[in-house]
Amino acid sequence: MNYIIGAFKPACNISITFSDGKTRKQVPLKKENGQTAMVPLFQSQENIAGKISIEPVQGKKVEHNGIKIELLGQIEMYFDRGNFYDFTSLVRELDVPGEIYERKTYPFEFSTVEMPYESYNGVNVRLRYVLKVTISRGYAGSIVEYQDFMVRNYTPPPSINTSIKMEVGIEDCLHIEFEYNKSKYHLKDVIIGKIYFLLVRIKIKNMDLEIRRRESTGSGANTHVETETLAKFELMDGAPVRGESIPIRLFLSPYELTPTHRNINNKFSVKYYLNLVLVDEEDRRYFKQQEVTIYRLADTS
C-alpha cells in the first residue's frame, strides 16, 4: 500500500518562505475552491525575497534539468478559463541540472518589483500574483509549486476632489438636487451628502442609496459587463414634501470594495457608482447613477 501511495506522491516537498514572513501582514485570499487562505501582502516596488527549500521524499533522489522561480502577474478570464495572460513575468534560475538527495535550500530575491496592478477577484476576472517554482524533469514531468501573494497599491489622497452636485428630475413630477461631498472616496471613507427636494408630486415611499460595481471584461464585441449591487442603504422612509432636505451619511467600511480599476492591461475595468433610487407607492423606481472613484489610502495604523 505504502508503495502505491508513494508512486503518486510528488517525489519531493517544496516550500516557499518569505524572508520577512513572520512580520509581513497577511490578508485573506479567496481561493478557487472557495476556501480562504492567509497570504502575505505586498505593494509595488517592494523586494520579494525568501527561500525555497526542496526536500526529497525519504530515500529518493530527485533528478532534474534545472530549478527556477518565477514571479508572475496573471489575468484570468473566467469565461476563458485556464487561459492566463501574464502581464508580469520575472525568472530567477536557482540551480543547474543535477540531482538532489537531501533537503536543499535556495535563497531568491526579486528586488523592486513593478506590480502596477492590484490583486483582484471579481465575477468574471481575476488578477493574481504568484510565485512559481519549477523543478524541470524530462520524462517524469516537472514538479511545480505555487505561492500566491496579494498586492495592494496605495494612492495618496487626490489633490482635486470636487463634490458631486446635480439637479435631476422628471418634469412637473419630481425635482431633486443631490450632493455627495466628494467624487473620490477611499475604502474606509464616509459619503456625506444631502438630497434636497425641490418639487414632489409623486407619492414617494422610500429612498435608497446603492453602491454598484461595474466590472467589464474583454474588449470590443467580446465585452462582458457584470454589475453588482454591493450596498443598499435606506436614506429616507416616507414621503417628503417640497423643501425637505434629507441627509446622507454612508460609511464605506462595512462593504467589500476595491479601488476603481480602469482598463487594466486592456483586459478589464472595475468602476463604482452611487445609485440614488426613489421608490413610489406603486413601486416604480426613479434613479440616478453617478460614478465615484474608489482608491486605497495607506493605512495610517
Binding site: 422610500n206 442603504f233 435606506e234 422612509d237 416616507g238 414621503a239 414634501v241 460609511f251
Partner: protein, 790 residues
Amino acid sequence: MMIPDGIEDEDKWLTAGIAGLQQNAFYMHRALDTNNLKDALKYSAQMLSELRTSRLSPHKYYELYMRAFDELRKLEMFFREETKRGCSTIELYELVQHAGNILPRLYLLCTVGSVYIKSKEAPAKDVLKDLVEMCRGIQHPVRGLFLRSYLSQVTKDKLPDIGSEYEGDADTVMDALEFVLQNFTEMNKLWVRMQHQGPAREKDKREKERNELRDLVGKNLHVLSQIEGVDLEMYRDTVLPRVLEQVVNCKDELAQYYLMDCIIQVFPDEYHLQTLEILLSACPQLQPAVDIKTMLSRLMERLSNYAASSAEVLPEFFHVEAFAKLSNAIGQVIEAQVDMPIVGAVTLYSSLLTFSLHVHPDRLDYVDQILGACVGKLSGKGKLEDSKATKQIVTLLSAPLEKYNDIETVLKLSNYPRFMEYLDDGTNKVMANVIIQSILKNKTCISTADKVEALFELIKGLIKDLDENLDDEFDEEDFNEEQSSVARLIQMLYNDDPEEMLKIICTVKKHILSGGTKRLPFTVPPLIFNSLKLVRNLQGQDESVSGDESSANPKKLFQLLNQTIEALSTVPASELALRLYLQCAEAANDSDLEPVAYEFFTQAYILYEEEISDSKAQVTAIHLIIGTLQRMHIFGVENRDTLTHKATGYSAKLLKKPDQCRAVYACSHLFWVEDHENNKDGERVLFCLKRALRIANAAQQMANATRGSSGSVMLFIEILNKYLYFFEKGNSHITLDSIQGLIELITTEMQSETVTPDPAADAFFASTLRYIQFQKDKGGAVAEKYEPIK
C-alpha cells in the same frame, strides 16, 4: 362590515409585530448576556424593524413602540458597559450607522447618542445636532413622530442646560434650546402633513389619529418649559418667536389651536404677562377656523388666576398694560373673524371681563368699556336667539355682580342696561333674578331714588310683561318665585332721609303700577309696608317738622298709599286690598289723622260690600275689620258710631249662624276699649252678647230641625267666656245671674240626649269651670266677685 374587519386585522398585525419584536429581543438579550456586540446590533436592528410597519393606527403603533422602548433601555445599558470595557463610543456611534434600514438605524443612533453625550467624549451640542439632523431621514409622519419623540425622551436629561453637568464652554443653554426647537419644528411639520396623506375619504379617521398624536408634539414645548436656562429674556427673544413662527406657518387649525393652548399652559404666567404682545400678535395670523376665543379665554383665565394668586404681581400687570393689550387683541380677533358666532365674541368679552375684575378691580371704566364693546357687537342683530350666547351673556353680566357684591357699583355702568335690551325675555328674567339674588345675598341697601330707577330699569324683565304673547309658557310656580324675589327686593330699598325715601317709594310705585295685574298682589304689599315704615319714622321724628312745607309728610304718604291700594282693586285682589286698607287705617290712627283713617275704613267697607262675596272670606274680613276698628282711638263719636254700627250690621248678616254668632260677640269688644273710658258702653256690650246668644240658640234649633241633633254647645261656651271677660273687666251690665244661667244652660244641654258628644267642647267647658274655681281660690276681691257662681 369594513371597519370591524379593519380593526381585527390591525389587532392581528399588532400581535404579529409584538411577536417579531419579542423574538428578536430574545436573541438580543442572549447577545447582551454573552457580550456579543455584533449580534446585539444585528438583532436589535431586526427587532426595531418591526416599527417599520405602516399598518397600525397610532394607538396600536404606540403599544409596539413602548415595547421597543423598554428593550432599547437594556441595549443602552449594554452600550454603556461596552464603552467601559474599552469600546470607544465614537466607534459604536459609527457601527450602528452601518444598519441598512433607516428606521432601526436611527433608533440605534439615538440610543448610542445618549450614551455618547453621557460619556462626555464629545460636546453634547454636536451629538444633539447630529441626531436631530439625521432624524430627517424619516419622513413618514407616524414613524417620524415616534422616532423624534424617542429622541426627545432619551436626551431630555442630557441637555446642556444651565447647572446641568453637560453644560460647558462649548455647550450652552442656547444649544439645548436650538435642539429642542428644531425637533419640535420637524415634529410639527410631520404632524401637520399627516392630514394630506392617504385617501380623502379617511380624512375624519386621520384627524382623529392626529389628535391622538398631538401630545407627542406638545411634549417638546413641555421640555422647553423645563429648561432651567430659559429665562424671560430668552423666552421672549428666542423661544416664543420661534415657536410662534412655526405655529403660524404650519397653517393647520388643529395644530394651531393645540399648540397655542400648549404654550399658554406650559409656560409660566409671568412670562405670558411679559410677552403678551408677542403672543397676541400671533392670534390674528391663525387660520380662521381656529377656536381663538377658547384659547384667549384660557389665557385670560390663567392670567386672572395669576393676578388673584398674589397681590405682589399686580403692579406688573399695570406695567405691561395687560388690559389694553388683551382688549386690543380681542377687538382685532373679532374684527378679523367676521363669521365668528356671537357666542364666541361674548365668551371673549366675558373672559376679558373676568380678567379685568381680577386685575383691575378698581377700574370700573374698564368694565364699562368691555360691556360697551360687547353691546356694540350685539347691536344691530336684534334679540339674541342663541341659547349658548345668552348663557354666556348671563355669565358676563353676573361677573361684576359677583365681584363687587354691590349693585350700586354695577348701576354705575352705563352700558349695563343697554345690554339687557339685547336679551330675550327669558334671559332678561334670569338676569334680573341674578341681580336681585345678588342684592338679597349681600343685603345691599339701595338708598337713592336714582339708583332705584336704574335698578328697576335693569330688572324690568320681572317688573312688567315684556311680551304679551308668552302666556302659553307661563309657569305659575316660577312666576310666584320671581315676584316674591321682587317683593323681597323692594324691602331692601331704604334711606334714613324721609325725603329721599319718599322719592324711592314714588319711583317704585311708578314701576310696579305698570307691572300688570298679575304682579300687583306681590309687589304692592312690600311697597305699602315700606311706606308705612316711613310713616312710622316720621312719627318718631319731631312731629312738628312734618309740617306742610315738607313733601314727606304722612298726609301725602297716605294719599299715595290710597292710590296704590286702589290699583289692587283692578286685579282683583280685594281681600288683600282690604287688609292693606286696614293696615293703613291703623297707621293713620297712629298719626292722628282721623279723616284719613276714616277714608281707609270707608274703602275697606266698600270693598267688603262690593267685592267680598265669598262667605269664608267675609268671615275673615269681618274679624279683621273688628280687630282693627277696636284698636282705633282717634275717631270721634259720630264716626265711630257709624263704623261700629256698620261692622255689627255686617256681622249679623253673615251666612252661617255660627259665623254670625262669633262675629257678633266679637263686636262686643268694639264697645269696650280698655284704657278709653269714653269708649266703654256696658249696655251695648251686653246687647251684643245677648244677640250672640240668641243666634247660638237659633243655630242649635236649626241643627235640630235639619239633622235631628242639636250640634255642639261650643258657641255657648265661647259666649260664656266673653261674659266672664267683661264680668272681670267690671262691666256692671254683666250680672252674676246671667253667668250662672249660662253655665246651667250649658250643663243641661250637655247632658241632653240630643246633643252629639263633642270632646273639644267638654274640655273647653271643663277648663272654663276650672278657671272660675281658680279665681274663687285666689281669695280677696276677685274671689268675692266669683263666689256666688256655682
